[in-house]
Symmetry: C2
Subunit: 141 residues, 2 copies
DNA sequence: GTCCTTGCAAAACGTTTGCAGTTCA
DNA sequence: TGAACTGCAAACGTTTTGCAAGGAC
């Protein structure tokens, strides 16, 4: 489902279809990174110079509440947004903040969570915490 | 390993043993909740009325960097800190923010992550995202 | 005595809110 | 036309920073 399809469906729920929203959602669906609101803002500004950060947040929250994107908060201050939940896992260094990808088959636990909780599960996220090889030096004896 | 043991070990690394730090760490190890910095502050203030929020953050970051506690960021603005990583999982509603516990045996993936990445893994966290039964009404057709 | 830590206050940062003007339907 | 949205700016809550005084070792 692409950006236009999603926004068309949202129209039935009283959500307006605006070019800014289209640009934001298209960017999120096209990228494999997990951009911050600021990064999305910078990207959309190239196409719509007048767009504001407030509009970015407005749209991101709307998409999140309708279950089309995920908001992931990391240790660094700002949230990251993900339009493609079928992704990989991360390992975060508690000391230097480095993040490395952990590629392994996605755990198939969403259905179990859906059945037990009654939620409509959109996706999950798993993160490992630890000390990276550099930061391990002299630590954790 | 209790608070005093941990702080004694940190002394060898040039980290000072102060009563404020002891109180903060003891609270974190004793509770099963995931308190925010503010909640830790309120608790420690009962014992040390003059303590400041800055000291709480200072200590939490130090403990995190040495791999003794985890910082977990949620959708709501403030981070939560966890001294007992062996816990449960969460399911978060993307619309109303409700969080419910998901009790299931912890997935045994830490060792795999440690071997592949070279990190010293302290723990992991998994979160499911979706729409809760109430917020599903009329959504996601 | 040294230098790490504390407490305080101010600053920085990400995010939300309020509002007047605009645009989609 | 009317409700939803935009852009802007101000406000908000969390976290970090700077610095003088204090405390651990």
């Amino acid at each position: 489902m692409d950006a236009i399809d999603i926004l068309r469906k949202l129209k039935d729920k009283g959500v307006r279809f605006t070019p800014q929203r289209q640009a934001i959602l298209e960017f999120l669906l096209a990228t494999e990174s997990h951009p911050t609101a600021e990064e999305i803002y910078q990207h959309v500004k190239a196409k719509f110079p007048g767009v504001s950060l407030g509009t970015i947040y407005n749209t991101l929250n709307m998409l999140k509440e309708h279950g089309h994107i995920l908001e992931l908060s990391y240790g660094d201050m700002s949230s990251r947004f993900d339009g493609n939940p079928d992704n990989h896992y991360h390992i975060v260094c508690s000391k230097c903040g480095r993040v490395v990808d952990f590629h392994r088959p996605l755990l198939e636990v969403d259905q179990e969570a859906e059945e037990i909780s009654g939620f409509r599960i959109i996706g999950h996220r798993m993160e490992f915490y630890g000390l990276c090889p550099e930061c391990r030096q002299g630590e954790m004896n």
